[in-house]
């Protein structure tokens, strides 16, 4: 299936530093945001060029991939001695477009809520397009240049973009960086925080870190009172009806790459720990219960 872009045998030893696509086969994008983002690459459908690009990406031939606001730089190694230098430029939206997007996102709490909890709101594709922010770029909204001299998106740039799509699959917010603004900057515009507030927060943090507490010389204060300690409240204790709610509330771990789903892996630990904690609270070594 490699066709004419297959590599000569003697060069099969691939550079150790190469980036290897996580996916051995199948699509580079599993999530909708990555699939949509890379749709401009799919326009040509299956083609020998596409296959060659995939081979480069999966063969560890993309040596580096650096994402900067608005731009991506990559090095791709093919049969040529020196790696190809690739630069991909994304078109930057105007200030007005950003303002329009901010206003549109503010109109529905769901956008801010999702972005803040590390999720890509699905409606954002339409909203950003309407505002003129090419979060999901069209083919003519990016310009790729490569020292191979081929016009448009050459096979090297294509390979780099495939790996970029894979990254976006794990980190959707990268698509914001590509159009020139990090999601953090966007959220700041969305939620706005004044300098005064920042100063106040800093002061509060400083106050919280109390430096030292000298021991009192008064013997009554020093030794404390047994009765007072015994009466200290510890609050209600019960096993929560929903296991691992605290972790669940934080959502899935960003760009998880474990064998098991993150929250699924944690849930039994939370569940078992609950019983162990209850016994510690009751002051028992272990639960001798077990029905008679």
């Amino acid at each position: 299936m490699y066709g004419r872009y297959d590599f000569p045998r003697r060069k099969k030893a691939r550079p150790k530093t190469g980036l290897v696509a996580k996916t051995k086969k199948g699509p580079f994008a599993e999530q909708w945001w990555a699939a949509h983002w890379m749709s401009f690459l799919e326009e040509g459908g299956e083609s020998p060029a596409r296959a060659a690009a995939e081979a480069l990406a999966r063969g560890g031939r993309v040596l580096s991939l650096d994402v900067e606001p608005g731009r991506v730089k990559a090095q791709v190694q093919d049969e040529r001695e020196t790696p190809h230098q690739i630069s991909i430029q994304f078109s930057k939206p105007t200030a007005t477009a950003w303002r329009k997007l901010t206003t549109a996102l503010r109109a529905r709490a769901v956008f801010g809520a999702k972005l803040l909890t590390g999720e890509m709101p699905s409606e954002i594709e339409v909203v950003s397009r309407e505002a003129g922010v090419p979060l999901f770029p069209l083919r003519d909204e990016l310009k790729a240049s490569c020292d191979c001299g081929a016009p448009g998106i050459c096979v090297h740039a294509h390979a780099a973009l495939l790996l970029l799509a894979e990254r976006i699959d794990r980190d959707p917010f990268l698509s914001f960086t590509l159009v020139g603004s990090t999601v953090q900057e966007l959220l700041e515009r969305l939620c706005g925080k004044s300098e005064e507030e920042e100063a106040a927060a800093e002061a509060a943090a400083e106050a919280a870190a109390a430096p030292t507490a000298p021991l009192p010389a008064d013997e009554y204060a020093y030794w404390g009172q047994v009765r007072k300690i015994r009466e200290l409240p510890l609050g209600q204790v019960r096993k929560p009806p929903v296991a691992a709610a605290v972790a669940r509330g934080l959502g899935n771990f960003p760009f998880w790459r474990g064998k098991e789903l993150f929250l699924d892996a944690l849930t039994p630990v939370y569940d078992t720990a609950s019983s162990i904690g209850l016994n510690a609270f009751l002051g028992e070594e272990e639960d001798e219960a077990g029905d008679e």
Binding site: A107, A109, C191, G224, Q225, V237, V242, A280, G283
Partner: protein
């Protein structure tokens, strides 16, 4: 010897050390001379801070640990010498309690270092030892616990609570140049508040340990020390769980097991390795690339960010479910309320002041005003949005509302409301949101439920005759909503609504299809029922078992059964019985009510627990019951089991109040056994024995059919696994009574064992009981479980307090009682020896010498009665050797448990010292002692401390001479006369220290008398001629010297059967 255990954190680990009084010969010497000899030799000498004179050497420390936690044996290798920076005055450290040493009040106080011997504990050892702090009465084990120790014990329980609530998160930290995966506690909302309160209450002594090289006192702030401890404990507890159920599957197999040759086994990612490390004992993540670890740590931080924002935010997001307003007069058939809109309102709640609640619409408007919500790195809007965003993942209604720009709430329907109540609300609460639910909603659903009630009509028994618990009763099931029965039409209407929450007759009720089906079934065909009266009784009291697939809301009965259930409600509803004819003396009205209640339960074969306050006369109510049974023709004997120390008291009280009752004291080495006991016992009305013998002689005790079994001081069987508890359950009888002066209802665990004796099976098995009542109640989550338990046991427990208004009116202001104590074998032997020697000498002597001999003998015998160590004067061990001292301690335990205060008078200063010493060791608390040798200034101070100090000592020992007159000690409402002066006016004067103007409570006076000894006989003589007493004995004991040899012999002689084990 008094020992007080302390605990402190040193380099992140718990270290324990103990305080103990310095050896007597070194008392008063300079501090350097006080260095414990053992420590100095074992560890050599050096230049560090001087040894604290109070630090316990290793053997004493190890004994403490052994007593509290037998499994905690760190061994001497882990003994460390550390500096304790402690309050110091006049060149001496100030002990934590005067029990350790007298505290010098003169001079300036400062913090100075003293070397103590501390054991470095592993985390497992720390846990086991700290659990001992849960025991409310550790003194029983001979070790006092310092407030600092109890603090860490409390902190351990708090860690347990955090883990039980699942308030922790996985983490990755860089520490000591290595990466460690660990579990961190998450403090927010209420936990944060509890944490701060704990930290504020930390006794400084809990953070006062330092290295001996340190030149300055440790100044770790309490919240830092507490945070450290919690982090350690939470990580440990969760790791225990992770070891059981490793996240991400079991740890990777090593290279050896090549049996599963997966050629392309996927390399574990950094994430997999993190999960494995979280389940590994130490959590180290070495061997991974530093860059990867840093990136992972950053990701963990990002993931946890919202949690820390919520953790520190001054406000938290909350959800309030608001029920629809339903117009009055809507009938069940109306479908209006099925459709009526509910509303979920969003609010912000202040974490500092939980009563401060702001609706979110206001909050959005005020966002730009500084400091309303502001927190986190992105400001208030981001805080609100992300809080809503996280909540949206837990609650569909919230998710739907996020289409608005500034959501303030969400309308939901009845099904949505039900879903919110049952699923979303608990999840949100767990995730740290505030949730406000309608008052009719409880952890177990709506207060009112579709249920059944049993209706019993008219005559119940099939055969006629007297109704018993075993009789089968016929009844009819009625479908009801709580108290009210509902009609078939209403039931149909309910079914038609198909809503999980409906409003019927003004209350919201949760219904499900299954219950509706079950209810319809009951209506249509299955309404007849029959069961034993015993089961019916359980249903009436609400045992919460399902019947016909529905909860049983109660029993409505008429006729005999109705009357029975009605009377069970308490002594007020019982039919009053009369005082038995032969009863010597008078029963007070409340005692008569108690007797009637005991009688009523006995008639029905139900066990009763009489838990009246000390001094209200549990003994005479019981004796009256026994006498009443005898007068009504009871032939079989009763069995009374009590602690050895009160065996004689029962014997005595029986002779005094119910002389017709033939009492057999089953005690002593020459007691009857086996067949001889079985035959002999039938001649008696009551057998009195001790718990120790109950177990030892159970083989033949269980063969007797008893008229009734009474357990006095029934807390002796509070542990169901002890020999005495098991033996008690083997006894054959239809009538069981437990007597106790301690509030049983306060300790749910004890209650089961006592109830299991009284009414076997009534509370279910121990594990059922534990699941249904004990755990929910202990964890504070079981308000309804406690309520249910009280309802279930209420009819069988009668507890009246001296302070109850009705009782107060019936009690005299001053209530005098004799307390008859049992001599121990050792006391009896000494008594006989003293007597044998004296008799000869008295017979030989004449005149003044004879008088002298008599008085000397009198004194010696009184000393023997007090305590062998008092007579021998050898400073030997005190516990378990004197019947009187044991009884005193038992009674004072009750006094302390009630939070009351007592005076203890003795005429011997030396005995006073022994009493003080013994009580301090037993209770681990300071006991005051005033005797003739105390100088005026100190005397005033002691009195002031007892009378005025808020948390002052509760027990005050006084010598009759030094404290018998003049003082005002009205804070005490118990007066004990440990030994007797035989002069009522002197004793009354002493009693009047407490019983005088300013006394607001009734005063209980307990006069101790050793049964079978001269004390008992002299007491009887004085009582016999009370009117002459003043004249004859006005001068104390002098009159005894005038008695003839024969009379003397009678007075002095020892009645052997009164001697205990």
């Amino acid at each position: 010897m008094a020992t007080i255990l302390h605990a402190g954190l040193y380099s992140g680990r718990l270290h324990v050390w103990a305080e103990t009084p310095p050896p007597p010969r070194e008392r008063g010497a300079g501090a350097s001379a006080l260095r414990p000899a053992a420590a100095a030799t074992a560890l050599g000498d050096d230049d560090g801070p001087p040894f604290s004179p109070f630090t316990a050497p290793y053997p004493a420390l190890a004994r403490c640990l052994e007593a509290l936690a037998p499994g905690c044996k760190p061994g001497e290798r882990r003994l460390r010498r550390l500096s304790l920076w402690t309050a110091t005055r006049a060149g001496m450290p100030i002990p934590s309690s005067p029990v350790i040493a007298a505290i010098d009040e003169e001079g300036e106080t400062r913090i100075a270092p003293w070397t103590v011997l501390a054991l470095d504990l592993s985390i497992e050892e720390s846990m086991e030892l700290l659990y001992a702090g849960n025991d409310p009465r550790p003194q029983a084990r001979g070790v006092g616990l310092g407030a600092d120790f109890l603090f860490w014990s409390k902190a351990l329980r708090f860690s347990g609570a955090l883990v039980a609530r699942q308030h922790f998160l996985p983490s990755l930290v860089h520490r000591d140049s290595s990466w460690i995966a660990l579990w961190e506690p998450l403090l927010r909302g209420d936990d944060r508040r509890l944490f701060q309160e704990l930290a504020r209450s930390m006794p400084p002594a809990a953070r006062a340990l330092a290295s001996r090289e340190a030149e300055e006192a440790p100044e770790t702030p309490p919240h830092v020390a507490l945070e450290l401890f919690l982090a350690e404990m939470v990580d440990h507890l969760v790791r225990l769980a992770a070891l059981v159920v490793p996240p991400g599957g079991s740890p990777r197999r090593g290279g050896r097991s090549a049996r599963t040759p997966k050629p392309k086994a996927e390399e574990p990612t950094i994430h997999d390795r993190w999960l494995s490390a979280l389940a590994a004992p130490l959590g180290h993540m070495d061997g991974s690339e530093a860059a990867q670890l840093e990136e992972l740590a950053e990701r963990v931080k990002v993931w946890r960010e919202p949690a820390s924002v919520f953790e520190t935010s001054p406000f938290r997001l909350g959800f309030r479910l608001e029920e629809p307003e339903i117009a009055e007069g809507l009938e069940l058939s109306d479908e209006a309320f099925a459709m009526a809109p509910w509303h979920l309102r969003y609010v912000l709640q202040s974490t500092a002041d939980s009563s401060l609640i702001v609706p979110l619409d206001t909050a959005w408007r005020d966002l730009d005003r500084r400091g309303v919500v502001g927190s986190g790195s992105l400001g208030p809007r981001a805080f609100l949005l992300s809080a809503l965003g996280h909540a949206a993942g837990l609650c569909e209604a919230v998710a739907q509302s996020l289409d608005e720009a500034e959501p303030c709430g969400s309308p939901i329907d009845a099904a949505g409301a039900h879903q919110f109540l049952t699923q979303a609300a608990p999840a949100l609460e767990e995730a740290g949101y505030a949730v406000f639910l309608p008052a009719w909603w409880t952890a177990e659903g709506t207060r009112t439920h579709l249920s059944v009630r049993a209706r019993v009509e008219g005559p119940s028994t099939e055969g006629g005759g007297k109704l018993t618990l075993a009789d089968v009763v016929k009844f009819e099931w009625r479908v009801a909503l709580g108290e009210q029965e509902i009609t078939l039409a209403e039931l149909h209407a309910l079914a038609r609504l198909k809503a999980p929450l409906v409003r019927v007759r003004g209350q919201w009720v949760e219904v499900n299809a299954e219950e509706l089906r079950a209810a319809a079934e009951v209506w249509s065909k299955d309404a007849e029922g029959k069961t034993t009266l015993r089961d019916l009784l359980q249903m009436a009291l609400g045992s919460n078992r399902l019947q016909k697939g529905l909860r049983v809301a109660g029993v409505d009965a008429r006729g005999e059964v109705g009357l029975f259930l009605e009377r069970l409600r308490g002594p007020e509803a019982c039919e009053l019985v009369e005082t038995p004819q032969g009863f010597q003396g008078e029963l007070r009205p409340y005692q008569l009510r108690g007797l009637s209640w005991l009688h009523f339960l006995r008639e029905w074969g139900l066990g009763a627990c009489l838990a009246d306050d000390m001094g209200l006369g549990k003994t005479i109510q019981t004796l009256a019951l026994v006498l009443r049974a005898k007068e009504n023709g009871e032939q079989r004997p009763w069995l009374l089991v009590c602690p050895t120390s009160v065996v004689e008291n029962w014997n005595h009280e029986a002779r005094r109040f119910t002389p017709q009752i033939q009492v057999l004291v089953h005690h002593g080495v020459d007691r009857r056994r086996g067949p001889s006991f079985r035959e002999g016992v039938l001649r008696y009305d009551m057998v009195v024995t001790s718990y120790a013998l109950l177990h030892r002689d159970i083989d033949f005790l269980r063969e007797v059919k008893w008229a009734g079994v009474v357990l006095d001081e029934a807390q002796n069987i509070k542990n169901p696994d002890t020999k005495q508890a098991k033996s008690a359950r083997l006894l054959k009888t239809e009538s069981r009574i437990a007597l106790t002066g301690t509030p049983v209802e306060n300790n749910v665990g004890d209650l089961w064992s006592i109830m299991e004796f009284l009414n076997p099976g009534f509370l279910g098995t121990w594990s059922e009981f534990k699941r249904n009542y004990y755990v929910p109640i202990q964890t504070g989550a079981g308000a309804s479980a406690l309520e249910r338990l009280k309802r279930l046991t209420g009819p069988f427990v009668l507890r009246r307090l001296k302070t109850d208004k009705a009782i107060l009116a019936e009690l005299p202001d001053k209530n005098e009682m004799k307390v008859y104590c049992t001599l121990t074998q050792e006391q009896a032997a000494l008594y006989t020896a003293v007597l044998a020697e004296a008799e000869e000498r008295i017979a030989k002597a004449e005149g003044m010498r004879r008088r002298g001999e008599i008085l000397a003998t009198l004194g010696k015998l009184k000393q023997v009665c007090n305590h062998p160590a008092h007579y021998l004067g050898d400073g030997s061990e005190l516990s378990t050797r004197s019947g009187k001292l044991t009884r005193l301690r038992e009674m004072l335990e009750e006094v302390l448990e009630l939070g009351e205060r007592a005076l203890v008078f003795t005429q011997f200063a030396r005995m006073g010292t022994l009493i003080q010493q013994h009580l301090q060791d037993a209770f681990g608390n300071e006991v005051l002692f005033l005797h003739g040798g105390v100088p005026q200034g100190a005397r005033d101070r002691i009195v002031r401390r007892f009378q005025d100090e808020v948390d002052g000592p509760s027990i005050f020992v006084l010598s009759l001479k030094a404290g018998g007159t003049g003082l005002n000690l009205t804070r005490a409402n118990h007066v004990f006369h440990f030994d007797r002066w035989w002069n009522p006016s002197v004793e009354n004067q002493a009693t009047d220290r407490a019983f005088r103007i300013g006394q607001t409570r009734d005063v209980q006076v307990h006069k101790f008398v050793c049964a079978g000894t001269l004390e008992e006989r002299i007491d009887t003589m004085i009582e016999g001629k009370k009117e002459l007493a003043e004249n004859i004995v006005g001068s104390g004991e002098g009159w005894i010297t005038e008695l003839g040899d024969q009379e003397l012999k009678e007075i002095f002689s020892l009645r052997l059967e009164a001697v205990g084990e």
